[in-house]
């Protein structure tokens, strides 16, 4: 369904048509389809927020929440900031948008433990978004993947939201990580990518050509 709608929606986003409020119902439905089918179209969602910006009376809290939550599923991309910039202070402080803003804030600070605790107390907030929790785990794995060479097994489980052993194994396998001795998990050989760089001065002939020429 999302695929089918994509074409129709793309036409609605061309040129000045993008600002036509008559398109809002379709675009809003498209947001709901994305939530349900776990697909994502940032540009279409930003167009919805833009229409709210131009037509404040059409502002819809429910749809905005979905757009913001979907933006979180696309971390580490900065989609959430883009959305925030199109909303105003008053809209962002409304319940439950402010809850989502808080979630985004702790995710951006990588305080995953607080995030998981919080999410457990608000199960209804994210339930409309299919695959929300796994999307966040993907983000966790991204951050772990760029930070660690080896990580303690228990720590990883905790970062992923206190997952049980079989779930942990699934994620480890998915990312091609390896369990090694001492209850550790080997992530990647980071010293290949992260090395000290030395920038030395290079003076080539062109740099000094002009001076040489004038030193006759």
């Amino acid at each position: 369904m999302a695929e089918a709608m994509k074409q129709t929606v793309a036409r609605m986003l061309k040129g000045i048509e993008r600002y036509n409020p008559d398109n809002l119902p379709t675009l809003q439905r498209y947001v709901e389809v994305q939530s349900r089918e776990n697909s994502y179209d940032l540009e279409a969602n930003l167009a919805v927020l833009k229409l709210y910006q131009f037509n404040p009376l059409s502002f819809n809290v429910e749809i905005t929440c979905q757009i913001l939550l979907k933006a979180l599923t696309n971390l580490p991309h900065t989609d959430f900031i883009l959305c925030k910039c199109l909303l105003n202070d008053k809209q962002l402080s409304q319940e439950p948008i402010n809850q989502i803003v808080y979630l985004a804030d702790i995710l951006e600070q990588c305080d995953f433990q607080v995030f998981w605790t919080r999410i457990r107390t608000l199960p209804e907030l994210t339930q409309s978004i299919t695959g929300f929790v796994d999307s966040i785990r993907k983000f966790v794995c991204h951050v772990v993947g760029i930070t660690y060479q080896t990580i303690e097994r228990s720590h990883l489980a905790q970062l992923l939201g206190d997952v049980d052993d079989s779930t942990l194994k699934l994620w480890v396998k998915k990312y091609g990580w390896k369990e090694v001795a001492g209850n550790l998990i080997f992530i990647a050989n980071q010293d290949e990518n992260i090395k000290t760089k030395n920038i030395n001065e290079k003076i080539d002939f062109e740099n000094v050509g002009a001076i040489m020429a004038s030193c006759r």
């Binding site: 000045i16 600002y19 131009f54 910039c85 199109l86 202070d89 804030d105 600070q109 660690y148 090395k195």
Partner: protein
């Protein structure tokens, strides 16, 4: 034209006179001025000559008239008063309709820029209607209109159009000094300076000129004329189309829509020379908004690249602008703003940049600000940001039942807040960076101890496990925030790959941090070359001396 004095980047001073708006709009006073001002012969001659040149499409002559004679006459006769009224001029130029539209555009621009008190509501409306006339003339023609104007004029025309919209949006949001009747007029004329109107004009100019297709072909090495169509092959349409893209970039930025801002420039490589990129003011403005949008999207590498490249260009071509004073003011202001933004980006994302740009940032005022920001002075972040950011606006007026007040700052406050939240999320990173810089390997526990030293009060209540735990969170955040999308190639500036572009990087191996720093060797070559050139120069001068 003579725009520099109250341009948009100067919003602090911009509308401070609005409170006195009713005085300058006073019809009896205007009448008085008119009666006591006789149009000088030289102005009369100029207008006739100007009109003839427009009709004959003498581009070089027009360029000189536009760039030099008009500002000169403005200085001589119209420093503090508007140019002659429409009806006075019309009789001199045989009611030439096209020339009158162009004249009125310049006339209003001058009022916006120079007349104390700024434009009255009526003048704002009339200027808008005049733009409608102009764009209708250009856009609704069956075939390309026989009009040719210098590119600089076309750029300033589009730029001014967006500026006047911005100015109106700010004016509309300042409810505190409006009278009943003024509000009434505003509400009953909500189509005037409507955001959709402005978008529509810019989009229509883009579409009419096929500029997007032209740029696409041009970017892939083809001949843009092959897709330009009947209108797009005319310089007037082509350049208006190109400048409208930059106008859209600016407009989207003002509304906080950074995604569209970058997207609209697809197929334009901002820092590359091209046949469209020969108006310095346009290039500079483009880079300013592009760099800013990147900064807001946390694409610091891209922002730093965009700012450094244009600042380098400005450094090298500085003498070029010196003679054109009205452009000079605006360029200077925007340059200073970009140094501020670059300073912010470099504090958040330290990285090597060109030596001569670095040199400027070492100057006292920037250096001090960067130092304060590095030490977590949030106030400094905020004041640098609000000084250097575009003057954001709300696309719709405050609701009819709003209490009297100033709503014009709301949009700026909001964008500032979004930015400051980002800064707050990163607040621990500079401290961590400063410790990591001292080591190549460092155990987590040791760094945790360092970090805790600042906040710990009671030695006995120390909990190392907890300190490590909170340190690890900061380290994850460090890695996350320093790994950003960076553009390398492709038509759209939105594309890119995740990279860690900052100079210090690290990874954690179980409980040990391994640090990789960038070591820059001293650069002697540049220094010596400069000294040698200087020495030779001196030598030459000495030889020329005749005693």
């Amino acid at each position: 034209m003579s725009k520099g004095y109250s341009d948009d980047y100067d919003q602090g001073y911009d509308y401070t006179y609005d409170d006195y708006g009713s005085h300058t709009g006073d019809p009896s006073l205007d009448e008085y001025n008119r009666q006591h001002f006789k149009m000088p012969e030289s102005v009369k001659n100029f207008l006739v000559y100007f009109r003839n040149n427009v009709n004959e499409g003498l581009i070089f002559e027009l360029q000189a008239l536009y760039e030099h004679t008009w500002p000169k006459l403005t200085e001589d006769y119209f420093e503090k008063r508007p140019w002659p009224e429409e009806n006075e001029v019309a009789t001199i130029v045989d009611n030439d309709p096209v020339f009158m539209i162009l004249y009125k555009e310049l006339y209003f621009r001058h009022i916006y820029a120079r007349i104390q008190g700024g434009p009255s509501l009526e003048q704002r409306f009339n200027s808008f209607y005049n733009y409608c006339d102009l764009f209708n003339y250009i856009l609704s023609a069956e075939e390309p209109v026989p009009l040719e104007l210098p590119d600089l004029w076309l750029w300033e025309l589009i730029d001014e159009f967006v500026y006047q919209f911005q100015s109106f949006a700010q004016y509309r949001a300042r409810l505190q000094s409006k009278k009943e009747q003024e509000l009434e007029t505003l509400h009953s004329n909500n189509k005037v300076w409507n955001v959709l109107c402005v978008l529509n004009v810019l989009h229509s100019l883009v579409d009419k000129s096929n500029i997007k297709q032209q740029l696409e072909v041009y970017a892939s090495g083809g001949d843009p004329d092959s897709v330009s169509g009947e209108f797009g092959s005319h310089s007037l349409y082509k350049m208006l189309g190109y400048f409208s893209l930059v106008g859209l970039l600016r407009l989207h930025s003002l509304l906080g829509d950074y995604y569209q801002a970058i997207k609209v420039l697809e197929n334009i490589e901002v820092h590359k020379k091209s046949q469209y990129a020969h108006i310095p003011a346009c290039q500079i403005s483009t880079s300013y908004y592009v760099g800013f949008a990147y900064m807001m999207m946390r694409r610091y590498s891209d922002a730093i690249r965009t700012f450094s490249s244009i600042l380098l260009y400005i450094q090298r071509t500085k003498q070029l602008f010196a003679s054109k004073t009205y452009q000079h003011d605006q360029i200077n202001k925007q340059t200073d703003q970009m140094y501020h933004l670059l300073a912010i980006c470099l504090v958040l994302h330290p990285q090597c940049i060109d030596e001569s740009i670095q040199q400027t940032l070492r100057e006292k005022s920037y250096h001090e600000k960067m130092y304060k920001m590095q030490y977590g002075d949030l106030q400094e972040f905020e004041s640098s940001f609000t000084y250097a950011c575009p003057k954001f606006l709300s696309p719709y007026p405050p609701p009819i039942d709003s209490l009297p007040g100033d709503y014009s700052k709301d949009a700026i406050q909001h964008q500032t807040q979004v930015f400051m939240e980002e800064v707050a999320q990163q607040k621990m990173l500079p401290t961590i960076r400063s410790y990591l810089k001292l080591y190549t390997t460092l155990p987590l526990s040791k760094l945790a101890t360092f970090m805790a030293q600042n906040s710990r009060t009671n030695e006995a209540s120390r909990d190392l496990a907890k300190e490590i735990q909170s340190l690890v969170i900061h380290l994850l955040c460090f890695k996350h925030k320093m790994k950003n999308v960076v553009w390398s190639r492709g038509a759209s500036g939105l594309e890119g790959k995740f990279q860690s572009g900052s100079e210090l990087d690290f990874y954690i191996d179980n409980d040990m941090i391994h640090i990789a720093d960038t070591k820059v060797a001293h650069r002697y070559g540049d220094f010596f070359i400069r000294k040698i050139v200087k020495f030779e120069d001196l030598n030459r001068k000495l030889h020329q001396l005749k005693l």
